[in-house]
């Protein structure tokens, strides 16, 4: 019974996602703007990175220049997350061993 419900709800979610993917519709109809899925109306930030990233950071790889330079603080958080994950793993497994003894 539970599995059947799970399967039905998954099917509904899948069908709605499929419907949106096939028939994107008109997102900006409420505000009067014509927006199409996959064609963003505002791309100022992308254009800025693409046209100035190479001059400002000197890196050919724009993704790296964003990840490590424009949004370096974000990467610091990611690195700290990994550090915390290792710390948590070590502490949890050490506690596990103490319980066994």
């Amino acid at each position: 019974m539970r599995n059947a419900l799970l399967a039905i709800s998954l099917l509904i979610v899948f069908a709605s996602l499929l419907y949106v993917a096939i028939n994107p519709g008109d997102f900006g109809a409420a505000t009067g703007e014509h927006l199409v899925f996959g064609e963003p109306k505002y791309s100022d930030m992308d254009d800025y990175f693409i046209h100035n990233g190479q001059n400002q950071t000197g890196a050919n790889n724009i993704v790296t220049s964003i990840v490590f330079d424009y949004r370096g603080f974000d990467t610091l958080g990611e690195a700290s997350v990994l550090f915390t994950a290792v710390l948590g793993t070590g502490v949890a497994l050490r506690l596990l061993r103490r319980d066994r003894k």
Binding site: Q54, S65, G72, E78, F83
Partner: protein, 151 residues
Amino acid sequence: MMSKIVRTQASFLYTLILIFGFYIVAHGHLTPGGGFQGGAVIATGIALIVVAYKFENIKGWVKKSMLTTAESIGLLAFIITGISGIGVSFFYNWLANSGLLFGRVVHYGINPGYINTAGTLPIMNLAVGIEVLGGLGVIIMYFLHYAKEVK
């Protein structure tokens, strides 16, 4: 411990995986990839060597203390590189286009990809690569070390 064929292949592939991983880390500012991806590739090499040989047999070879030290040093180097540009702002890329180390001037457009560019980005890539290889390696070590005791 696996059979001799597996062990021979693993010790051969270990070198290639390490070279490939450090290539990805070193060329993070030129080609797709970077510190996180390269570090994960190197950690794969460590996992391969741990699986092929038994955990007990590589204790003197791949040390856990070495990996934890690498992780701490990587994170510290990353933060220090970020702080080094504090004169303007945190994470300011003061080495780029300066003519110093990694300071070759780059203009907008197609170029063959010089490794001596991008200022602090290669340094940060290396720091994050060291950190990720230490972190993922030490997670593998922890799991394999304690898996037997729980069983």
